[in-house]
């Protein structure tokens, strides 16, 4: 498979969004097939990233998520160099490394050094594959490399978009299936283990799902930026609520909002790369949530002094016992 290239800007620049009223502008935008494909793949990927990212942040595995996103780069370039489908390399590399990290590391608190050293080497391998790929084929290698690193969601084809959406749907189903035990194990690993939750199985399984998510998301926003899609909406959701299920839903919603807004922004301003626009909105969401949560905490503290409860109290309500599997 040749990697999808972004459509030339000259085709897109003339007569686009800036119609007289926003309704016409949006319907103009939705009329383009490349926007439809981007929206289909992007929505599914953002939903998945928001859900998975929430658990990544909750479990404190941010560095592992970061490492897996870099592994996606090496996997994609290995596939390019070997001449097989890009996605094969992406998924194989990220899922294998995710499982390996899960088996080796457990909760990962002790081995940031191991993660760091390993992923520096995996990236080094990526550079080797890049050199091999550049040496052995002639067509627009630089663009392919930039697409793997930074994504090319506007260049995604109809079949690739629907494949990405189906894979994302499958992964979302897996996440929702393991959400309850995973939440329990993330909040209190020891109690969960005592209650019969297979904690040692869940860890590697979850990191494999994170790996598959990284492989999915790198098709949309690139191997270097997908980490933002995992971390920013989840971090924003955690600032806004301490209820785990609300936070999970909020994280997914914020990720999808950043995706939609970013796609529209990049469409309206052709100079902005789509992945930059998506990341900017995700970062803005986080900054906004951080400021809002500071204000909220202050109000809560003031009410605490008067001893009156406050509606929308952001303090934790779900306890580990509440989440225990019902016998």
């Amino acid at each position: 498979m040749t990697p999808p290239l972004a459509p030339p800007l000259s085709n897109l620049a003339g007569g686009r969004l800036l119609a007289s009223d926003p309704i016409t502008g949006i319907s103009n935008m939705l009329g383009h097939p490349f926007i439809q494909h981007a929206l289909l793949a992007g929505t599914a990927i953002a939903l998945l990233s928001g859900l998975v990212g929430y658990f990544v942040v909750l479990r404190g595995q941010v560095f592992a998520g970061d490492a897996l996103s870099h592994v996606a780069y090496a996997g994609a370039l290995a596939a390019l160099a070997a001449g097989v489908d890009l996605r094969f390399g992406l998924f194989a590399a990220t899922i294998v490394v995710g499982l390996a990290l899960g088996m080796l590391g457990g909760r990962g608190a002790a081995d940031d050094v191991v993660i760091g050293t390993t992923f520096a080497w995996v990236l080094g391998l990526g550079v080797l594959f890049l050199a091999l790929y550049t040496a052995h084929s002639s067509t627009s290698n630089g663009a392919a490399n930039a697409n793997v690193l930074f994504g090319s969601i506007f260049g995604i084809s109809a079949s690739d978009a629907s494949t990405a959406a189906w894979i994302a749907a499958g992964l979302i189903a897996v996440v929702l299936l393991i959400a309850r035990p995973l939440l329990f194990a993330s909040l209190d690993s020891a109690v969960a283990s005592a209650r019969g939750v297979p904690v040692r199985l869940l860890g590697p399984l979850f990191l494999a799902v994170v790996g598959a998510t990284a492989a999915e998301a790198s098709q949309a926003v690139g191997a270097l930026l997908l980490f933002g899609l995992l971390a920013a909406p989840a971090a924003a959701a955690q600032r806004l609520t301490d209820r785990p299920w609300t936070g999970l839903a909020l994280s997914a919603a914020l990720a999808v909002a950043a995706m939609w807004g970013g796609l529209a922004l990049a469409y309206a301003a052709p100079k902005l790369p789509a992945s930059f626009a998506i990341m900017t909105l995700a970062t803005a969401e986080f900054a906004h949530a951080a400021l809002a949560s500071i204000g909220l905490r202050r109000r809560v503290r003031r009410h605490d002094q008067h001893g009156t409860p406050l509606a929308g109290d952001p303090r934790p309500t779900a306890t580990a016992a509440e989440l225990a599997p019902r016998a």
Binding site: V57, L58, G60, Q61, V62, F63, G65, D66, H70, R107, G108, A109, D112, V113, V114, I115, G116, T117, T118, F119, A120, W121, L123, G124, L125, V127, L128, L130, A131, A135, G142, A143, N145, A146, L149, F150, G222, L224, L225, F227, G228, L229, L230, A231, A232, A234, A235, Q238, K271, L272, P273, S275, F276, M279, T280, A282, T283, F286, A290
Partner: protein, 311 residues
């Protein structure tokens, strides 16, 4: 351009005949010493994630500088130092180290900063057309791009960095190993932490210019981690870390010169091989040590306790 013969002396002479190679080795030497030393403290303080983020923040700096037509050196240093100050100023949420180590919930904030920085870098790259080969050099390093001026800048930055590290070493070691006791003894722990982050930023910016933004870890974390597996004595570990970084850089640059594959691959592979060897050695030594129960603590604890006691 060149071939490898069996005569090593000849090979080295042939390599050093190229001015760019001389510059690459000079820059590599400076960078390896600084990265080995600063990296040792980074590993000790478990701030690998912060180090990675600072390295990555250099990328938009360099890309932006190239876009504006100024030397990327200023972009690297400017952004890395500014990033260090921002991270130092972020609220730590009670657990000062969790965010920087990449395992606390706070680290999601740093992750967000990192992704946004990369996105900005991509924006600058796409605004500056025809930059794609430069993109790879910024991200993955090159051995042919180091100018005389750059070597001089690196030398000045490296000397300042090492001087600051030497001045900071004792309180830094103390507050890395036991922050609570250090604070009780009057060490300004927060100030030391912030100063160290700036040093880390300088080291990351310098290393980026040899290995590229993404492979800084090959010199910043791997040699230090290798040294930490081999010995627990800070002074010995520090020297070992610097030596390993130097060896990895010199051998990596030499192989990169004679082979068609890029420097980033060689340096990161050599560093990883050293780390694997040291890990295997440590595992074997621990197993042997466990079989002879002489009642002593592990060498790690004993060494650090002894040193802190002396401090």
């Amino acid at each position: 351009m060149t071939g490898l013969s069996w005569n090593l002396v000849d090979d080295v002479r042939q390599m050093l005949a190229f001015h760019f190679m001389l510059n690459a080795l000079r820059a590599g030497t400076i960078v390896a010493v600084v990265a080995g030393a600063v990296g040792y403290f980074m590993v000790l303080r478990r701030q690998a994630f912060a180090g990675h983020t600072l390295a990555v923040i250099g990328f938009p700096g360099a890309a932006g500088a190239t876009w504006l037509g100024i030397s990327p050196v200023f972009g690297y240093f400017g952004f890395c130092i500014a990033g260090a100050l921002v991270i130092a100023a972020l609220p730590s949420g009670g657990r000062p180290n969790a965010g920087l180590g990449g395992y606390g919930e706070e680290s999601a904030v740093i992750g967000t900063v990192q992704a946004f920085a990369l996105a900005c870098g991509f924006l600058f790259v796409s605004l500056y057309k025809g930059f794609l080969s430069g993109l790879n050099n910024l991200l993955f390093g090159t051995i042919i791009g180091v100018s005389d001026n750059q070597v001089l800048t690196l030398l000045i930055a490296g000397v300042i960095c090492l001087a600051m590290l030497a001045a900071l070493a004792r309180p830094l070691l103390f507050s890395s190993i036991d922050p609570a006791v250090a604070r009780a003894r009057g060490v300004p722990v927060r100030l030391v932490a912030a100063a160290f982050l700036v040093l880390l930023g300088v080291a990351a910016a310098g290393t980026s210019q040899v290995t590229g933004s993404l492979l800084v870890f090959a010199l910043l974390v791997a040699p230090a981690a290798t040294a930490a597996r081999l010995t627990a004595r800070p002074a010995l570990g520090l020297s070992l870390s610097v030596l390993i970084a130097l060896a990895v850089t010199w051998v990596g640059e030499t192989i990169a010169f004679f082979s068609p594959y890029p420097i980033g691959f060689w340096v990161s592979s050599l560093a990883f091989a050293a780390f694997l060897l040291a890990t295997t050695y440590r595992a074997a030594a621990d197993r042997i040590g466990r079989r002879q129960p002489r009642g002593s603590t592990s060498p790690t604890d004993a060494g650090i306790t002894a040193t802190v006691g002396a401090a």
